[in-house]
């Protein structure tokens, strides 16, 4: 049957909920920002200026529909960040310090060496008042948390957890894999914390703060498609080697590829439903189109970053090669033209090296900005899940309706039969009474199911509105950041080359 209803009533535009929030002595603070520098850009000029504005807006925050006036901000890796909605509690979540544990395993697992071990991760949460929680969790706990959140927040865009990546015992021990898991866990927890509803759930709070860990749900995850969890393609993630000289650009997209692959694979044809809400269907179609375009743009973004990176590498190599040549010419010089040539070559080489450094910085910025696309692409799984919640709920009502129909028919049949004696009469009466009791229960269930469904529908719509607003802002923000950085670094590079052109002008004049 239905999962715990209590959380499901933590409805989106529950003004009371948000007002409770305002009553919390919450300073204008910050939400769990990801400290992953690979993923979040430094504050762009526009965002830092909006910090005070965000603080000021804190109270004038909530308008009637419960839609807050969002201040578009880009979270920073180091500084406290003001997000769209103030979270009363979580300031920053970090996942670190993976440790291996040997576990006595039974059965076949005990026979196979290495398969009984697992890793635990240190989850550190800092809260607004300066306090800190440290707990140890293993991935299994995260899976349980994710299942629980999904079950209790149906209809909402609950962030999808990192993939299980079912691997053999040996692969589990690879250093890179564990480190990447740290990164993806941290990102996941921060995303959960950033969700205005899910981030404030008790289960999440418990996960972050209780040393004893959360109880595992009894495998109850009405939404999770078995296709996702069990038959995850054994794209055993061979950890990518970091690119030379810095960021693992491709490592961060590896996770994404996996998610996308899973998403595409996990799409089962939705159950036959009679969704009549045209507005909803229109939104859904739009989101599906959006997902396609996000996928395409994401691919191009990766290719663009790579092309930029390659250009930088070659420019740097060119500079190095000419530096060597300059040194050689200087060392061997026997005449003036040679000496002056050596100097020219040296100037050129230095310019090339300087330019490559600018290019490198630009690349890092571009990666951060374009991460927005991947962020929203990842979100599409949550969106799909929320829509599945809706259709499941509708199905449930339909099945209860059909049950009721059957029950009613049986009652009608029984009642229409003429009795043939006291005993029969009594037993028939009893049966009818039982059936009527069952019907009452079923009707209660149906009414409850309908309420659930309405709730989920409302959640869907609110989340859609929130999503649409946020993605718009984020996309514009992304593009702005991208463009600003391009301007900044292109200007720098132009200056470097213009200077060299000026210095070598004499050679052009001579030849013309």
């Amino acid at each position: 049957m239905m999962a715990a209803e209590s959380s499901a009533t933590e409805n989106y535009p529950a003004d009371e909920h948000l007002e409770t929030l305002a009553l919390d002595s919450s300073p204008p603070a910050s939400v769990a920002a990801s400290t992953d520098p690979l993923l979040h850009p430094p504050p762009s000029p526009s965002s830092t200026s909006s910090h005070p504005a965000a603080a000021a807006n804190h109270d004038a925050f909530i308008d009637e529909d419960g839609e807050a006036d969002f201040v578009p901000v880009l979270p920073t890796p180091d500084a406290p960040v003001i997000s769209r909605e103030p979270s009363p509690e979580f300031y920053q979540i970090t996942v670190s310090d993976p440790r291996k544990h040997e576990e006595a395993a039974t059965g076949a697992a005990g026979v196979i060496p290495g398969s009984g071990s697992y890793f635990s991760y240190l989850v550190t949460t800092q809260i607004a008042d300066g306090g800190e929680f440290c707990v140890r969790r293993r991935f299994r706990d995260v899976v349980a948390l994710a299942d629980r959140l999904a079950a209790t927040h149906r209809g909402l865009f609950v962030p999808a957890r990192p993939d299980k990546n079912i691997v053999e015992g040996h692969v589990m021990q690879r250093h890179d894999f564990v480190n990447q898991r740290c990164v993806s866990l941290q990102r996941y927890l921060c995303r959960v914390a950033a969700h205005p509803i899910v981030g404030r759930s008790d289960d999440f709070h418990t996960f972050l703060t209780e040393p004893s860990g959360i109880p595992t749900s009894e495998g109850e995850s009405p939404r999770h498609n078995p296709a996702i969890t069990a038959t995850t393609p054994t794209a055993v993630t061979t950890p990518t080697t970091p690119a030379k000289g810095g960021r693992d650009i491709f490592g961060m997209f590896k996770d994404l590829k996996q998610t996308v692959a899973n998403g595409l694979m996990a799409v089962r044809p939705p159950p036959v439903e009679e969704e009549t809400d045209a507005k909803f269907l229109a939104h859904k179609a739009k989101l599906e189109e959006l997902e396609q375009q996000l996928t395409a743009t994401s691919q191009q973004a990766v290719a663009l970053v790579k092309a930029h990176d390659d250009l930088k590498t070659t420019t740097a190599l060119l500079g190095m090669t000419f530096l060597k040549l300059a040194k050689f010419e200087k060392g061997q010089s026997t005449c003036t033209p040679q000496r002056s040539r050596a100097a020219d070559i040296n100037n050129f080489a230095n310019a090339a090296v300087k330019v490559s450094r600018s290019q490198s910085s630009l690349d890092a910025e571009i990666v951060k900005h374009l991460e927005t696309i991947h962020k929203y692409l990842r979100m599409m799984t949550s969106v799909r899940n929320a829509f599945t919640d809706r259709s499941n709920a509708l199905l449930h009502i339909q099945s209860l309706s059909s049950d009721l129909f059957t029950l009613h028919s049986r009652v009608a049949k029984l009642e229409s039969v003429s009795s043939r004696g006291i005993d029969q009469e009594r037993s028939r009466y009893q049966k009818v009474a039982e059936l009527k009791e069952t019907i009452r229960t079923a009707e209660d269930a149906k009414s409850h199911a309908r309420k659930e469904y309405e709730l989920i529908k409302e959640n869907n719509m609110n989340e859609i509105k929130r999503f649409n607003k946020e993605i718009r802002q984020d996309l514009v923000g992304m593009m702005k950041g991208f463009v600003i950085n391009q301007v900044e670094y292109s200007d720098k590079i132009a200056t470097i080359w213009a200077k060299l052109a000026e210095e070598t002008k004499g050679y052009a004049d001579r030849s013309s």
């Binding site: 578009p72 739009k286 189109e289 959006l290 375009q293 996000l294 395409a296 743009t297 191009q300 973004a301 663009l304 790579k306 092309a307 390659d310 250009l311 070659t314 420019t315 190599l317 060119l318 090669t321 000419f322 060597k324 050689f328 010419e329 061997q332 026997t334 005449c335 033209p337 040679q338 040539r341 020219d344 070559i345 100037n347 050129f348 310019a351 696309i373 718009r472 802002q473 996309l475 514009v476 702005k480 463009v483 600003i484 391009q486 301007v487 292109s490 200007d491 590079i493 132009a494 080359w497 213009a498 060299l500 070598t504 002008k505 004499g506 050679y507 052009a508 001579r510 030849s511 013309s512």
Partner: protein, 400 residues
């Protein structure tokens, strides 16, 4: 169509002359594919304009192909030992690239540079073969080419070859792996310099080639990205769609600029570096000639000294044979002096050529750097300007 012409560099192009002053202007133009299939080749038009008396007339146009240029190069190498003969572009490109637009244009420019460098060299331009090349009709040219490249060699050459073989044989017989080499510290240094230089330059040229490729690749991905951004914007609609559409258009525009810059780099940076490498290889060829000349001089000199001693003995011991030997000796002496003269000539010419080379290359590479910096500065500026122009709309979008 690739129209990036290499800017005029110092001496190779004929300067604009005042009226009445002697001038010689040559251009290699109009590459045309001739023939079909395996036997196809490119023909070029060589136009000579001159008022010099050694030439036949005001303007002459002939049709030449690569092997004609090769013939000229070989003839000059034969006759002008010690001079760094201007290099030719590589003969065989990979088949499928042989007729690409870029390859043809690069080759044409290199051939043009080749003839003009000859025309501006005080000694080379006097060459009769050069005049033949510029003026002879196609039939005569064909004949000259097959005559020279074949087995027909002048008698003097036979003697030369024979002597070379002799030295080689004696070396082998005597167990010497290498021929005797001149070895002054100065020349050693020069040899080391030239050989090392070639390595450095080859590496630099390789990087330059890669850079060209990277520009093209970036151009391509920027164009694709632009298209994707446009479609993404269309999903959102309204002002976002408009602004993303403009971002996409800018991307596509910049992609074209990147392709152009790639072409610019190919013609004005990578090709000059390749040219530099070829020039160094030409010096190496001259060094080989010098080594051969030295060996001949040395061997003949040794022989002469030896014979001279014997001659003294023979005077007393065998007077009849003496006069015969005396004759042989004086011939040998003449040959030895001839060889020594040749060697000395090469050495002195080489020294002049080296000075010329150093100056020329500083100018060439300086120009290449200038073109590079100019092109890159413009590209970066164009990029900055393009993105800057989108910023106001993005600002408007984010505040709305």
């Amino acid at each position: 169509m690739i129209s990036a012409e290499r800017s005029q560099s110092q001496s190779p192009r004929s300067p604009v002359a005042a009226a009445g002053a002697p001038f010689l202007s040559i251009s290699v133009t109009d590459p045309v594919k001739m023939g079909t299939g395996v036997q196809s080749y490119i023909s070029y038009r060589v136009i000579t304009k001159t008022n010099l008396s050694e030439f036949e007339g005001g303007e002459k146009i002939v049709i030449r192909r690569y092997s004609d240029f090769e013939w000229l190069h070989d003839r000059l190498s034969e006759k002008f030992k010690g001079i760094f003969i201007p290099p030719l572009p590589e003969k065989n490109a990979v088949e499928k690239f042989r007729f690409s637009k870029e390859f043809i244009e690069l080759r044409r420019q290199a051939l043009d540079l080749f003839v003009n460098r000859i025309a501006s060299h005080p000694d080379l331009k006097q060459s009769e073969d050069f005049r033949t090349f510029l003026q002879a009709d196609e039939e005569k040219m064909d004949r000259a080419r097959s005559y020279e490249s074949g087995i027909f060699k002048k008698p003097a050459d036979f003697l030369q070859m024979f002597k070379d073989v002799q030295s080689k044989v004696s070396d082998v017989v005597l167990g010497k792996e290498k021929p005797v080499e001149e070895s002054t510290p100065e020349y050693e240094k020069l040899k080391h310099y030239i050989f090392e230089l070639e390595n450095h330059l080859a590496e630099a040229q390789k990087q330059a080639f890669r850079l060209v490729k990277r520009h093209r690749e970036l151009g391509q991905s920027l164009a694709d990205f632009g298209k994707a951004i446009k479609l993404l914007g269309a999903c959102e609609g309204d002002s976002l769609e408009k602004v993303f559409s403009e971002v996409g258009s800018k991307s596509e525009m910049l992609s074209i600029k990147l392709q152009r810059e790639a072409d610019n780099l190919l013609f004005n940076f990578e090709e000059p570096l390749k040219d530099y490498v070829r020039a160094v290889q030409s010096i190496k060829a001259t060094m080989l000639d010098r080594a051969n000349a030295f060996r001949q001089h040395f061997d003949l000199d040794q022989e002469r000294k030896y014979k001279e001693l014997n001659l003294e003995k023979l005077k007393f011991m065998n007077p009849e044979k003496f006069s015969e030997s005396e004759l042989e000796f004086s011939e040998l002496k003449a040959a030895s002096e001839e060889a020594t003269k040749r060697y000395d000539h090469i050495v002195s010419v080489m020294n002049e050529e080296l000075a010329r080379f150093q100056e020329q290359k500083t100018a060439d590479i300086g120009l290449a750097f200038h073109e590079f910096a100019k092109g890159q500065a413009k590209l970066a500026k164009d990029i900055a300007d393009a993105w800057r122009s989108v910023l106001p709309k993005l600002e408007a979008c984010s505040t709305s």
